[in-house]
């Protein structure tokens, strides 16, 4: 039991590090990250970086060589990510496309699709988004209402998607729509590749409670998609979407943000009415609790990586990361605000402790508990797929979609 690389892994890591040293700047502090990601040229810098990675053979390491990948191992991919995280490089723009969309194209697309789309995506020339969620859908992803009707060799899409990250700068998307409302809901769906610049596609930012706008609504009005851009057969949409969602589950991270260490720093500085916060047993209890949770998740990931390195596929166990870290994000933010007493309401980065990171986290945590699977849905997943408990009674299993009760 050790964290050391095997000789092969070590050699690969050295190679990666050498290349990164030659092509990127090493991070000096935590703050560096934020600065690297901000600015109006962030997208262009991300595209440049992705191209560079692809040229050097560090993009999409595990994908087949024939489509532009490296045919490498999962652990090589992990090693690259671990190392890259130490450098000041633009990230984020490609997570969904390369993490979820293109894997779905690889699994379900025709040879033509793969030849056309995979290469440019790897080289960063085309960015992809995922169009699944709908206002009426939410946790019930399959309950979607956006519809497509066949018209000759084309399909005509009408409806609305929500919570689409990056829709405004993306070139392509994968969209799941209802093509047959007369069969039970999981059976009437079909998946398409859609050109985001098509006429009739309108993208509007969604402003979140916190004031930021990281997501979009996407409206489809008579958007025409050639039948040749269908992924899978008509009616297979749910199965195709599951491929995407499985990849999402793997891609979802720990949520980030301030953790026990930042709380220790704060508690050292904060004065409660009866003395320094760090001396208060209730504060110390929370530091201990959040340390234990963070470490537990960290070493769970190491266990998963070990399984990966032995060729195993991680299962729905990875849901536990978000089950633990999402409420922690919210609660830790909230508790840290308590330590600042009345002043905890201040959200000005120049005044509030640690640049208002706790206040922002308290806002963000409320969203993170919902995005990509609510606390409740993730517990269902663990209970059903890990522990083998039965699904809740499903009234929607055999009912035609257009006869199902829907509420407002």
């Amino acid at each position: 039991m050790d964290f050391n690389d095997t000789p092969e892994e070590a050699a690969y890591r050295a190679e990666v590090r050498k290349w990164l040293d030659a092509n990127a700047k090493r991070k000096a502090s935590k703050k560096d990250t934020l600065e690297a990601l901000s600015g109006t040229d962030a997208l262009q810098r991300a595209k440049d970086w992705q191209r560079k990675k692809a040229e050097a053979g560090f993009a999409c390491i595990t994908w087949p060589k024939e489509y532009g990948g490296q045919g490498g191992t999962s652990i090589q991919s992990v090693i690259y990510s671990q190392e890259e995280a130490n450098y000041l490089v633009p990230t984020g723009f490609y997570d969904i496309g390369l993490g979820m969309c293109i894997p779905t194209v690889l699994a379900w697309g025709t040879e033509e699709h793969k030849a056309r789309y995979v290469g440019p995506a790897i080289r960063g020339e085309e960015i992809w988004c995922q169009l699944f969620s709908e206002p009426a859908g939410g946790s019930d992803v399959a309950g979607l209402r956006t519809r497509a009707e066949k018209d000759g060799d084309e399909w005509v899409i009408n409806g609305q998607k929500v919570w689409t990250s990056g829709a405004h700068y993306c070139d392509y998307g994968i969209v799941v729509v209802r093509t047959d409302p007369t069969v039970p809901k999981h059976k009437g769906l079909t998946m398409f590749i859609v050109d985001m610049k098509s006429p009739g596609v309108e993208v509007r930012p969604i402003r979140q409670m916190s004031g930021e706008a990281n997501f979009n609504e996407v409206f489809f009005t008579d958007v025409r998609v050639p039948d040749s851009d269908r992924l899978g057969q008509p009616g297979d949409g749910w199965k195709v979407a599951l491929t995407t969602l499985m990849n999402e589950r793997l891609a979802v991270g720990g949520g980030g943000g301030a953790d026990w260490s930042e709380l220790v720093d704060l508690a050292r500085d904060a004065e409660l009415a009866d003395g320094p916060a760090i001396n208060n047993g209730a504060v110390r209890e929370r530091i201990a609790q959040w340390y234990v949770e963070t470490q537990g998740l960290k070493y769970t990931k190491f266990r998963t990586l070990t399984a990966l390195s032995k060729g195993q596929t991680p299962g729905p166990e990875s849901s536990i990361s978000k089950i633990v870290s999402a409420p922690k994000m919210q609660e830790l933010g909230s508790f840290a605000m308590d330590l600042q007493d009345i002043g905890g309401i201040i959200r000005d980065r120049d005044i509030s402790a640690q640049n208002a990171t706790f206040q922002n986290q308290w806002f963000g945590g409320a969203g993170y508990r919902i995005a990509g699977g609510t606390d409740e849905i993730l517990r269902n997943i663990v209970a059903e797929r890990v522990l083998g408990l039965p699904q809740d009674i499903r009234v929607d299993k055999n009912v035609p979609f257009n006869e199902m009760p829907k509420g407002k």
Binding site: M209, Q359, E376
Partner: protein, 374 residues
Amino acid sequence: MNFDFSDDQKMLKEQVSKFLSDKCGYDVVRRVLESDELYAEDVWKGLVEMGLTGTAIPEEYGGLGLGALELCVVAEELGRVAAPVPFSSSVFLATEAIKLAGSEAQKQKYLPKLAAGEIIGTLAMAEGTNAPSPRTVKASLKGGKLTGTKMPVPDGEIADIAVVLVNTGGSGDKALSLAIVELNGSGISKEQLKTIDPTRGHAALKFDGAAAELMGAEGEGWDLVRRVLDGAAVWTAFEQVGGAETAMWMARDYALERYAFGRQIGSYQAIKHKLADMYVKIELARSNSYYGAMMLNDNGAELIEAAAAARISATQAYIYAAQENIQTHGGIGYTWEANTQFFYRRAKLLALSLGSQLYWRERLVTQLEARNAA
């Protein structure tokens, strides 16, 4: 045994409720959130016209001469609609501080104007991100001149007068005193702060030799301000219970109208039990608040415990209800357009405004220790 509000009090509650549901809908809260307005002046004027700013001010000072219980029912209704008005600053804090600590002259000077809504008052305690205490308050009063920075001060930009917690150099708990200062004089600069809840404005007030006068005996400030906070905690608990109930019913209504997997989401135990937990917390908070109200009204021997219990349970109920209301709504609940955010913001603001739970737990347990020893 009559552990309930009187018919007259309930009628007052009804009046306030009716006025607010007419005049202070979500559109008003949103207007203040999204604009540069510092408060809903229209709503405030209406409350003033109803005489509510003078609810607990004796008639001799121009008030209605009612008691603590009447303020409780008003507070609950203000909380229910998340009213963006300076009621708590002016009435629960400034007015009560003057009633408690003011000289006869100070009372004569300020209470009638506060009662009539001619001026708005506030209490300036905090100095940044530490809990105010004899160890951290540095603002000083010397020779009638106030120097230092207070923030966040609720309604600091719109307030006409402030009761200020100042350091007058005594030792230990005797370091602090209360001062009263008119905020439109010279030597004062105000700066609006960015906070988690823009529907209730807070400012940084910088005093650079501003004219101020001592209120109450020198060295008694820490004791006095804690007594003011005890009362404010009870009224704020009602405000919190009102807000928590709105959040709970909002979640419940959404759980009835929203379908997932072909069923109302309110038929799933994860949602049902979440809502049941909201209800339980709110009921505990309401009951503790009632007892706090009784102790406050009767100046009872258990006021400190009762106020702390009301505050702690109301804070927990509101935080939980507001937070899980968003969770029940899912994605839509996290958007700017949703009204859920008003309660999320306000719940946390009120949780901190009179000092966090850490302060109140400590105040409570210190008292319980003393009682258990006796």
